[in-house]
């Protein structure tokens, strides 16, 4: 057997392998032992893609260990793996066929390694899913099929392997086809092809099998050739998640990768969720001649704007006629790979494109057992390798899309401690209380007119950026007292600060409001927030206390945040001993206070947040030279 194999390889290497322009990432999934590694080995051998010496090396190891040679060994590069007999990780290798380079991600099938299968499948453009004809549809066959769909791999074929072990019988194949198509149909997945093969014997892999004349469809290689490179993303509306802002030289460059659509010099961009707008002045590049005037999905670019608006990593730029959704709450489908279970109420970091935001699980609606798609209701936790439907609540507003309309901005990962522990797709926007105010802020920002003095000119003059220090806490905790100290300390430090006292609005701006009106309190907060927004635009550090509105301080703080967005908010909570601070609190002072020390602590926080230093919001710009 070994001998015949070698001859075959030698024969195949004479194949003319012109180097293709196109490459396609494919992943091979399926239950353990259903033949994934064997199929990959076979594809390599039959396309003449193995480096000289590879087979001999593997054969020598087999001899040493007294084992029969297997195609699968070609890819089990690590000795440990061969001992254990399962593929451990998503090895990436290449082969070339008919003018295309296929990058194969040999994903493992063992349960333990689901996170590796997910890493592999997440970057695949197409998939082959293997089912053993003798064993039939197994748990992992189902799980992998479901996960491919969740991960967005819609282009896939089902390969029914080991047909030699069932006498190449059509009825066996038909039975598996029927059962598996029914399963896939439950979540509307449709395979491009179902192919009966024997990876070991080479039936219907590269060449048509003479044992299965009842099958007229394409071979595995022909099916691969039918998979398409997706290219439609650049025809979608623009999504440009901001990755970083650079100021290495005179240019202030906004860098990022366009995930959908295209942008041109002269386009007006809207950044979400801050609602800032500006025109694209140039598309920058290094060693690009002539400079690009247009860029499209997939490209990593850098742009300059006509105005130096303050925007940060994580915002999504789009055109004004199709902006992303914004909310603090989303409904999602998620798979969990964490070391410890995902729990309701626990804090995680959500990463969506380049945005990172703290979030918590507000509700676990159901857990889906992927093996039979049964639903387990009302659980408090999601265990490793489970899939669940959840509502997540983010600490601050998030710009996103539904995964059904945009791929890259419709999905996210969750980080637990140091690890990426879950991945998910967004299925619904969950309306939050801030929606009305958010829309008001958006329309106001679009329409906002500025003079010739820019925010960073003011910041350079004043020695600080604009910001708001927002105090919360119940009565008699010393909020006003501390707020006054902070204002005084800032002014003594030559900063421009102003204590915005809500009470002062009552007789003037709020004079037309009636205390009997049910919306009295909310309207007062709204007006207060708009005044704060105006003061922030003048470049001031606004110090805000909030004891007088008579509504829950947590809700009040959220409303003000929405209205002053995207100015930095430093949230200070004061409480009597033993009380929990509200979410989003930056500094918490409990119990009796040394007010001077507390005020100094707040100034330190302003420095740490970059309010009291340079305004650009970029990383320090050190030049290196020898």
């Amino acid at each position: 057997m070994n001998r015949g194999f070698i001859e075959r390889v030698n024969h195949m290497t004479q194949h003319d392998q012109t180097k293709p322009q196109e490459s396609l990432n494919i992943v091979i999934v399926g239950h353990v032992d259903h033949g994934k590694s064997t199929l990959v080995g076979r594809l390599y051998a039959d396309t003449g893609s193995l480096p000289e010496g590879k087979v001999e090396k593997v054969q020598a190891i087999c001899r040493q260990q007294g084992k029969e040679f297997e195609y699968a060994f070609l890819f089990d590069a690590f000795l440990e793996e061969q001992e254990q007999g399962i593929t451990i990780d998503t090895a990436r290798t290449f082969f070339i066929w008919n003018g295309r380079q296929y990058i194969i991600i040999d994903a493992p099938g063992h349960k333990e390694f689901l996170k590796n299968m997910i890493s592999g499948a997440a970057r695949a453009e197409a998939a082959l899913l293997l089912i053993d004809a003798l064993e039939g549809v197994r748990e992992q066959s189902k799980k992998h099929g479901y996960l491919l769909s969740l991960l967005g791999v819609t282009q896939f074929a089902v390969v029914v392997n080991k047909m030699d072990l069932v006498g190449y019988r059509q009825d066996v194949f038909d039975g598996i086809e029927k059962e598996y198509r029914e399963f896939l149909g439950q979540f509307r997945a449709v395979p491009q092809q179902m192919i009966p093969v024997s990876a070991k014997m080479g039936d219907n892999i590269a060449t048509r099998s003479s044992h299965m004349n009842w099958y007229q469809g394409p071979t595995v290689l022909e099916t691969l050739a039918l998979f398409k490179k997706e290219q439609v993303r650049s025809e979608q509306p623009l999504r440009f998640p901001l990755q970083d802002v650079y100021k290495f030289d005179a240019r202030r460059i906004l860098a990022g990768r366009i995930t959908a659509g295209r942008l041109k010099v002269g386009d007006q961009l809207v950044f979400s969720p801050s609602n800032k707008t500006a025109l694209v002045q140039s598309i920058e590049g290094f060693n690009v001649d002539p400079p690009q005037s247009e860029a499209q999905a997939g490209q990593s670019v850098g742009i300059t704007l006509d105005e130096q608006i303050f925007v940060e990593r994580g915002e999504i730029a789009s055109h004004r006629d199709s902006i992303p959704l914004v909310s603090t709450a989303i409904r999602v489908n998620l798979f969990w790979m964490g070391r410890r279970p995902l729990e309701k109420g626990r804090k995680y970091v959500l990463r969506l494109a380049t945005r990172e935001v703290a979030c918590e699980v507000a509700a676990i609606h159901r857990i889906i057992d992927t093996a039979d798609l049964a639903q387990l209701q009302e659980s408090q936790a999601v265990a490793k390798n489970q899939v669940a439907e959840l509502t997540l609540r983010a600490k601050s507003p998030l710009a996103f899309d539904l995964s059904s309309s945009f791929e890259a901005t419709g999905r996210f990962v969750l980080v637990d401690e140091y690890d990426i522990a879950g991945g998910g797709i967004i299925t619904e926007l969950v309306h939050d209380e801030q929606e009305g105010l958010r829309e008001e802020a958006r329309q106001r920002e679009y329409a906002w007119l500025t003079g010739d003095v820019r925010a960073e000119d003011r910041a350079a003059q004043y020695g600080h950026r604009a910001a708001i220090v927002l105090f919360t806490g119940s009565a008699q905790t010393g909020k006003t007292f501390l707020a006054r100290r902070v204002e005084a300390l800032l002014v003594a430090d030559s900063r421009h600060a102003y204590l915005l006292e809500g009470e002062n609005l009552l007789q003037g701006l709020d004079a037309d409001l009636s205390a009997a009106d049910p919306s009295f309190a909310a309207e007062r907060v709204r007006r207060y927030g708009e005044v704060a927004r105006l003061l922030i635009d003048t470049g001031l550090i606004v110090v805000s206390t909030s004891k007088t509105f008579g509504i829950n301080y947590q809700r009040m703080a959220e409303m003000i945040r929405t209205l002053v967005q995207p100015a930095p908010v430093i949230a200070v909570h004061m409480s009597r001993a033993g009380e929990e601070p509200p979410p989003n609190t930056d500094l918490h002072f409990a119990g009796p206070q040394d007010f001077d020390a507390a005020a100094r602590r707040i100034l330190e926080e302003l420095k740490r947040r970059g309010v009291l230093i340079q305004p650009s919001g970029t990383k320090s710009t050190i030049q290196y030279s020898i």
């Binding site: 000795l79 990780d89 090895a91 290798t93």
Partner: protein, 265 residues
């Protein structure tokens, strides 16, 4: 050249993620074709600047022309070059005749670990490609190393949708691999497309041989080749099935697997 642009876009994205997330970041530069392409990609990503130091682990056995090239490029591109060397091992007479694994571990792996430790880097960018050998095929773009610099390939973090592992416990560091998806041919195509200066050791300079991969002088052998231009190299590579590192002695047997587990690049 659309596929080159795609590779470039992904590498640039990775480099920018690395720069954003790591305050103590450095890039390994061996002056070979891969790490020089990597360096060029950094200039692409940061618009002509290289905002982190470049590390060269000098075994003292490098081909002299490599050092000249290094210093010239560093000057012209205004690079911050940091050279590391395991002086103790060299003083004690370490060389390849004492065993290649031993020599590589002492002069490269240990030298690099010492450098990383001394400077406190938490992110190291390397020009590793998945098609070089099967251990490298298992790498992630962002690959954690433990306190001893060891790589636990059995328990790697998931990497999906261009979300990378950028948080890690104190004392560990992350290796960053922006070139993972590139092939040897892509490297040369890109060198040609961008007109990147490279060492002429890669070309046949008249004696019918050239280097395909550059390492230490004693352990790197030239291959038979009459390729005198980048185009001829590409044509030659399209027709070969010989592994790239066949000229490098350390890869024999299970050498590479052992070396890489211990922290080799």
């Amino acid at each position: 050249m659309k596929h080159l642009r795609q590779l470039e876009d992904q590498s640039v994205y990775i480099l920018r993620e690395a720069y954003k997330h790591f305050n103590h970041l450095a890039m390994l530069w061996s002056m070979g074709k891969d790490s020089t392409v990597l360096l060029w990609l950094a200039r692409k990503a940061f618009f002509g600047h290289v905002p982190f130091p470049l590390l060269h682990v000098d075994t003292s056995y490098k081909i002299p022309a490599m050092i000249e090239y290094r210093d010239r490029i560093a000057r012209e591109w205004r690079l911050n070059l940091v050279v590391g060397q395991n002086k103790e091992a060299l003083a004690a007479g370490m060389n390849h005749t004492l065993g290649r694994d031993v020599c590589c571990t002492a002069l490269k792996t240990t030298a690099m670990k010492n450098l990383v430790e001394e400077k406190g880097y938490t992110g190291i960018i390397l020009g590793v490609r998945a098609d070089e050998d099967s251990t490298r095929a298992k790498e992630r773009y962002f690959s954690p190393r433990d306190k001893h610099g060891d790589w636990d390939f059995r328990d790697q973090p998931p990497e999906l949708w261009d979300q990378f592992k950028t948080t890690f416990p104190p004392g560990t560091h992350i290796r960053i691999h922006p070139l993972l998806d590139w092939t040897e041919i892509n490297i040369w195509e890109y060198i040609k497309h961008e007109n990147i200066p490279f060492m002429d050791l890669y070309l046949d300079r008249g004696d019918g041989t050239r280097y395909r991969s550059l390492g230490c002088a004693p352990c790197t052998m030239p291959i038979k080749s009459t390729a005198k231009t980048v185009d001829e190299i590409i044509a030659e590579l399209r027709g070969t099935n010989v592994a790239e590192r066949a000229g490098r002695a350390q890869d024999a047997g299970r050498g590479m697997e052992m070396l890489r587990k211990k922290g080799y690049m």
